[in-house]
């Protein structure tokens, strides 16, 4: 599939994501935030970083970037969109996923490897994983405490939108240990951990490989 990686001002995991896609044999293209053309991408990835310095709130400014209009339309038409870390925060701010991000309960930036449990694999991005599988990936964020009011949480559960949960320790105080969610249709997913940092043995984990491999095949 043709994968587009979006660069906002302040994005800093664009090259890492590009590299991870290369590792699985995909030749991605970069999309610039000021453009309106998704260049026939079949999957759009919003990588991590500090778009606009995360000033005001993480993702709050990037979500008004010109390209977001196209991405929102694309998602509504069923296009695949993946937001990693800052990308997840942007998807929340843009309303493509429900809920919001708050500063970590520790009140500080946290960088470490965490364990994740796949609780639902009913999305393109996770179809290569088993439900119940435990993954190891790094997190690196300051605002990763996922929050959603009670009613929203019930809906998330009702529509099976929670896909990844922190396993063992909850690093940031996220509601119900949530690490990743999807929209109702399952074509939009956001997660705080960094799968692109877990695709090579030399970096300590290959748990993220299957996510990128799932993008290899035509749907």
């Amino acid at each position: 599939m043709r994968v587009g990686v979006v660069i906002f001002p302040g994005t800093n995991c664009d090259m890492d994501t590009y590299h991870a896609l290369k590792v699985v044999g995909i030749d991605p293209i970069y999309l610039w935030h000021k453009e309106h053309d998704l260049k026939d991408s079949e999957v759009i990835i919003l990588p991590g970083g500090f778009s606009y310095g995360d000033y005001l709130r993480a993702g709050a400014i990037a979500r008004f970037s010109p390209i977001m209009n196209e991405i929102i339309d694309f998602a509504k038409r069923g296009g695949y969109v993946l937001g990693i870390c800052n990308g997840f925060q942007i998807l929340l701010e843009a309303g493509l996923l429900p809920g919001a991000m708050l500063p970590n309960e520790t009140n500080s930036f946290i960088c470490k490897e965490v364990l994740l449990e796949v609780v639902n694999n009913n999305t393109l991005f996770l179809k290569n994983y088993r439900v119940g599988e435990i993954l190891k990936m790094p997190i690196a964020h300051k605002e990763g405490r996922y929050y959603i009011p009670d009613r929203g949480l019930e809906e998330l559960k009702e529509y099976n939108q929670i896909v990844l949960k922190y396993h063992g320790e909850n690093p940031n105080g996220s509601v119900e240990n949530i690490a990743g969610i999807i929209n109702r249709k399952g074509n939009v997913m956001g997660l705080m951990p960094h799968p692109e940092r877990a695709v090579e043995e030399i970096l300590g984990s290959t748990s993220g490989l299957n996510l990128f491999l799932s993008l290899l095949e035509k749907v």
């Binding site: 005001l56 709130r57 709050a60 008004f64 701010e93 809920g99 919001a100 708050l102 500063p103 970590n104 309960e105 520790t106 009140n107 929050y147 959603i148 009011p149 105080g173």
Partner: protein, 83 residues
Amino acid sequence: MKKWTVILEIFLKEGIFDPQGKTVKNALYNLGFGEVEDVRIGKVLKIEILGENKEEVVGKVRKMSEIFLVNPVTEDFSIRVEE
């Protein structure tokens, strides 16, 4: 048109845990300020804005808050004009 200074205060909604506020409260306690019962920390924006009158600029800042400056899922806000 006149220049106005509008102050926008943004706090986390009641009921949402504010770790920074709690840390500061504990630190104050340790410094001997035991009479402090709670601290919540928010953001405040000082916005210099041109407009004909107070209602107009407050309306504008309210609009900015609703679409951008405030996240309605987690935050409450209040606006005042500095004289």
